[in-house]
């Protein structure tokens, strides 16, 4: 079946602009995660969705970051007033909630803030 898809694959934006990143999880996966990977760094957790609710937002770095999920499927990560330090690859992963625990990642969106 289809894997996790993300769009756009690349996004270049000017400092101060808002951006929206989209994630389509694997069909039937009720758990959805957003991670951020900065250049040469490991993956940093941002937010977790179970269905449409987000019980864990602990990784969002500032109130400029928000995310939503609708219909238990597609999720959008929004970054307002982008800063240069927001430049990174934003990765989405999905899994079943009740196990097994395997998280499957999408290809990511590379965000560059100029």
């Amino acid at each position: 079946g289809a894997g996790v898809s993300q769009s756009p694959s690349n996004k270049v934006t000017e400092k101060g602009k808002d951006v929206e990143l989209r994630c389509d999880p694997i069909s039937g996966h009720t758990a959805l995660y957003w991670y951020r990977q900065s250049l040469g760094q490991g993956l940093e957790f941002l937010i977790y969705f179970q269905g449409n609710s987000a019980p864990d937002k602990s990784g969002l770095p500032s109130d400029r970051f928000s995310a939503e999920r609708t219909g238990g499927s597609v999720s959008t990560l929004t970054i307002q007033r982008t800063q240069q330090e927001d430049s990174a690859v934003y990765l989405c992963a999905s899994s079943l909630v009740d196990g097994p625990y395997e998280q499957y990642f999408g290809p990511g969106t590379r965000l560059t803030v100029t």
């Binding site: 993956l43 957790f45 179970q50 864990d56 990784g59 625990y101 499957y104 990642f105």
Partner: protein, 114 residues
């Protein structure tokens, strides 16, 4: 407590050799330990994973060794091939929030020389 420490940062192995990457953790509430392989420009791909009640898991040329008492686990790649050249991340799931988020190591860049 939430950290996963990974070493080495980079590794060069000759074709046919054994690649070994190590990870250590502190939080005994972690309940699942996956390894991911990432090629440049791609999202991380799940390689192999282990639960803490098992000391070893083998899938093809890839083996995870898990030492619960030492809170350490490692990935062994037998008969390493140039196609294995990639960045490898260990991770741990669970912890205090237990929302399923993964805590990642910093990654190891593996180069297998022909």
């Amino acid at each position: 407590q939430q950290q996963v420490k990974q070493s080495p940062q980079s590794l060069i192995v000759q074709k046919g050799g054994i690649s070994i990457i190590n990870c250590a953790y502190e939080n005994t509430a972690f309940d699942y330990f996956p390894w991911y392989q990432q090629f440049p420009g791609k999202g991380p791909a799940l390689l192999i994973a282990i639960r803490p009640d098992v000391s070893e898991k083998k899938e093809g040329r890839f083996t995870i060794s898990f030492n619960k008492s030492a809170k350490q686990f490692s990935l062994h790649i037998m008969d390493s091939q140039p196609g294995d050249s990639a960045t490898y991340f260990c991770a741990a799931r669970g912890g205090s929030s237990n929302t399923g988020k993964l805590i990642f190591g910093q990654g190891t860049t593996l180069q297998v020389k022909p």
